[in-house]
């Protein structure tokens, strides 16, 4: 306790620096260190699909889909509004570190969820038009279709454009702000689609 008290009373001048120096102009738009992890996940997915392992298919679909939904909702409704209230330099610093990771993570999660989910649905007979809850399955296709158009048509191009702008020595703040507003505009639709996904998937999983 005495040590803790002593540490807590250190003068501010002696406190360690809060952040490492970060050269934004050298940021990696696609984090190369993450590529082996993505490759490993995709190879594992191919092995599972090739061998039709039900547990593996369920694992990839549930884990991938759970992360996809949770990240979308958490980012859209909790992190996004917080970022919006940060100072501009803090927002830039956060985006430059955070968005390259999202550029790698989200397409991987989407691919894993969809490929494993399709194969799993085939095994369980869910993709068969004669399945008694076929309308729910078609609804899930529509939800995924809407989300893919928003992600690939609106958000990913904005994400890339922001990263290229952040690499410039003199980033255009107005442009970054304009592009980032797309996340706010689409958060409602994405959130609604993700909640619809939860409703559909829990309905399909219920007796």
């Amino acid at each position: 306790m005495a040590d803790m008290t002593h540490e807590a009373s250190l003068p501010v001048a002696q406190a360690p620096p809060l952040t490492d120096s970060f050269d934004r102009t050298k940021l990696e738009i696609v984090p190369l260190k993450g590529l082996p992890i993505v490759a490993a996940a995709l190879i594992a997915l191919i092995v599972v699909i090739a061998n039709d392992w039900p547990w593996g298919l369920t694992f990839f679909h549930v884990v991938g889909g759970g992360l996809w939904t949770a990240i979308d909702l958490f980012f859209g409704f909790m992190v996004g509004p917080i970022i919006g209230r940060l100072s501009v330099p803090a927002r830039i610093d956060f985006s430059a570190r955070f968005m390259p990771k999202m550029l790698l993570l989200m397409p991987t999660l989407v691919l894993i969820t969809m490929a494993a989910g399709w194969q799993l649905g085939n095994h369980l007979g869910f993709t068969d038009a004669s399945y008694f809850r076929h309308s729910w399955i078609v609804a899930s296709y529509i939800v995924v279709g809407v989300m893919s158009v928003i992600a690939l048509g609106i958000l990913e191009p904005a994400n890339l454009a922001v990263l290229f702008e952040l690499k410039k020595p003199k980033p255009n703040g107005e442009l970054i702000g304009r592009l980032m507003r797309r996340y706010i505009y689409t958060a409602g639709v994405t959130g609604a689609m993700q909640i619809a996904t939860l409703i559909i998937m829990t309905r399909l999983g219920s007796p």
Binding site: L42, W118, Q119, T127, V138, Y141, V149, K170, G173
Partner: protein
Amino acid sequence: MSDLAAGLERPEMPDQESLPPVTEVAVASMILIVIGGIYMASHLPHHAPVVLPIIVLVGSVLLIAWNALTLSRVREFSWSTFWLVGRWAVIAYIVIAGMLLYVFVKDGTRGSQLTLVTLMLITYAVNVPLLLAFGAARYQPPDD
């Protein structure tokens, strides 16, 4: 942000109004493919009537062709950024489309259905990289 950029010259970018509506057209093309894909998937394991998928596929290809044509006429543009992003995005989306195609083949999709699915995935693997490359390059300084 203005405080960050104060006293510094900003890099130029092409006049955004002068650029063709590549993003909007590419999104329309993508929506057509999504409609075709949902229509076909909802008929499984029976073969869906091919008329609607063929119409949306042709429409989607025409929109991509229009995009490529109008984009090729743009002079003041960062073509280096366009090709840099486009090249890597094509590789990524070949992997994605290839994996999806593998799943369809493994599940026994054959004949006209497989042909249509393959063409739709190829269209998707061309359209998305085009969209990403244009989206990144449009705000970059034009090449000399």
